[in-house]
Amino acid sequence: MDESPPPPDNQSPPPPLPPTGHTGSPTDFLKGVVGKKVIVRLNSGVDYRGVLSCLDGYMNIALEQTEEHVEGKITNRYGDAFIRGNNVLYISAAEEL
């Protein structure tokens, strides 16, 4: 379990993922992966694999056809899943962009 202090809470007004001048920014990446298969890893090390429906500036995530993986084994399946953004370590593309 990751014991690092919790990141800032969802209390301030939503921070928009700000656009930057160059391509390859987080915003561009996210535009490219919506509707694609992704791996979402949480700080705890648990993985969620599914199709990215959408996400917001907090990195709150909605996934479809979600599989929960713990230490390489599938431990749960969800039709839809809302993942609270403060737990997210990374979002990784699981298919060609």
Partner: protein
């Protein structure tokens, strides 16, 4: 007066090159930096994730990845990370 380089300008210079990211926990990443934002959320390509455990280091290869800036501790430009 010494010329000032703002920290984020340094990172901006790294776009397109390899970077080593050390997290606050026992976790590290290397990859090619494609972009980042004001929160230092980073988009990386050809990524290797290193999980450092008492049993050894577990390596995971990842494609394009958005790394949450919240738990980043250090950035080392131009490095191949623990393997270099």
């Amino acid at each position: 007066m010494a010329s000032q380089v703002l920290p984020l300008e340094l990172i901006d210079k790294c776009i397109g090159s390899r970077i080593w990211v050390v997290m606050k926990s026992e976790r590290e990443f290397t990859g090619t930096l494609l972009g980042f934002d004001d929160f230092v959320n980073m988009v990386l390509e050809d990524v290797t994730e290193y999980e450092i455990t008492p049993q050894g280091t577990k390596k995971t290869k990842l494609a394009q990845t958005l790394l949450n800036g919240n738990n980043i501790c250090m950035l080392i430009p131009g490095s191949e990370g623990p393997d270099s």
